[in-house]
Symmetry: C2
Subunit: 267 residues, 2 copies
């Protein structure tokens, strides 16, 4: 089991990884200036423990650390136990989930490898909003999407807020980055994927008619405001739309994604 270590003072340097969480995503001292991976609450901590990310430590009130005893049984890292008060002082606000875990980032999967082993993919362009990104991962996990490819303009899925909104599923659904856009979509086509761009354009095919549950399929999703770029739509094999009732501009991108993922699932 993780080694229980009592923390009684908020300025104890051993819990520095958990200090001032509202700034935890900016770590100039870390590779690339990016923060560590932070999981909040028992359920998300469990998902972090089951993920490829190497856990550095846990930090929480005794009751929550004990709830995680089984999940941490084989783990050789410190579990810092403290009071809710000291925890709030370290973290910078009252955290009612009562437990945190922190992990190092892991090497990112190469896009080619992820494409090869997948049957259903989501490809994101310009998803800068951390909550939308997290919600997309949650929906991808629930609806059987095998992986997420991040095109230009996407935020960091391991940002603390994304991890939280995804309910930790960003730690389970593999993702990779596409560096040359939209040329890298060729990678999908070379692997027999049909690429469907989701767009509200009237000349797009209805999602229902597009039969996305057939064969290897990738769905392209763009940012909520401007949507996919013309380049991305042109690079896709087909454009599909979710028919909207009059007067409604659009669905939230994570919600539109969920509808498309369900259509792709074929179940």
């Amino acid at each position: 089991m993780a080694h229980i270590i009592e923390i009684t003072e908020a300025d104890d340097p051993r819990v520095d990884d958990f200090r001032d969480l509202s700034r935890a995503d900016r770590r100039p001292d870390r590779p690339g200036g990016r923060g560590l991976v932070i999981a909040e609450g028992v359920v998300v901590v469990e998902r972090l423990l089951a993920s490829p990310y190497p856990v550095r430590a846990l930090f929480g009130v005794r009751r929550r650390i004990e709830e995680l005893a089984e999940a941490t049984a084989a783990l050789d890292v410190p579990a810092y136990v403290t009071s809710a008060d000291v925890m709030a002082q370290v973290v910078g606000f009252h955290l009612n989930r009562g437990v945190l875990a922190v992990a190092d980032r892991a090497p990112v999967v190469p896009a080619a490898e992820l494409v090869e082993r997948s049957r259903r993919l989501a490809v994101l362009e310009g998803i800068g909003d951390h909550e939308n990104l997290g919600a997309l991962f949650r929906n991808a996990a629930a609806l059987g999407v095998d992986g997420v490819l991040l095109g230009p303009g996407c935020s960091d899925p391991l940002y603390r807020r994304s991890v939280r909104v995804s309910m930790g599923h960003v730690l389970r659904v593999p993702f990779a980055h596409l560096s040359t856009w939209p040329e890298d979509l060729k990678l999908l086509r070379d692997n027999g994927f049909r690429i469907a761009a989701l767009t509200p354009r009237a000349n797009a095919e209805s999602l229902r008619d597009a039969a996305l549950d057939d064969g290897r399929v990738a769905v392209l999703l763009g940012s909520e405001g401007p949507g996919l770029t013309d380049e991305a739509i042109a690079a896709a094999d087909l454009a599909v739309r979710i028919p909207m009732a009059g007067g409604v501009d659009s669905l939230n991108v994570a919600t539109a994604g969920a509808i498309a993922f369900h259509a792709m699932s074929g179940v």
Copy 2:
């Protein structure tokens, strides 16, 4: 057009309807103790202006009030114009959307009337979270749901946060309250509706197989944690589920609703 009135002092009583917005949903001085209907931002204000709710006043910076000139052309109410600073002092925080409108509540539609004139309905049980409620209305509007019936445990859809998250669609999609639960579902059956309870239970029929796009259909949605009560599921004609990938507990209720609404739409 609305009458432009300059406001220079934050303590001007003419803008009291807009004061301390974070408490605006509790108005002991108003019928039922409930707040007025508050719309934030140009788009939502436009939806309020197009709604049945009687607008009392607008309040905003000049540029935003001017953007609304056409929408307010026929309106005989004051439009209070002020600086961003005075607005922040009145409202209690900086409001970057720059314009607000406030309206009285309108008499609620009787459930029987709403059921009679609808073909697609969402019926909610225990949706207490204002953001989920708002998101459900946004999704209902986008995906052609004609109305929403509120069972026990639902929050007030006209709460400020619900209005905002719904992007103002809670002002467009009619809703009604069911007072006797689940007996009032009889109202739906008497009008030829098929009632489908959405649940993750393994013995429920797959959403895809349930053919919800046929005839008059109502979908029952429960709260995110406990889901629908046994009583509600028993009172439905069928139970349907969105098949989930292994290890994922559930989708957000508004997202699950969107997938069901899309299935109901038949397009």
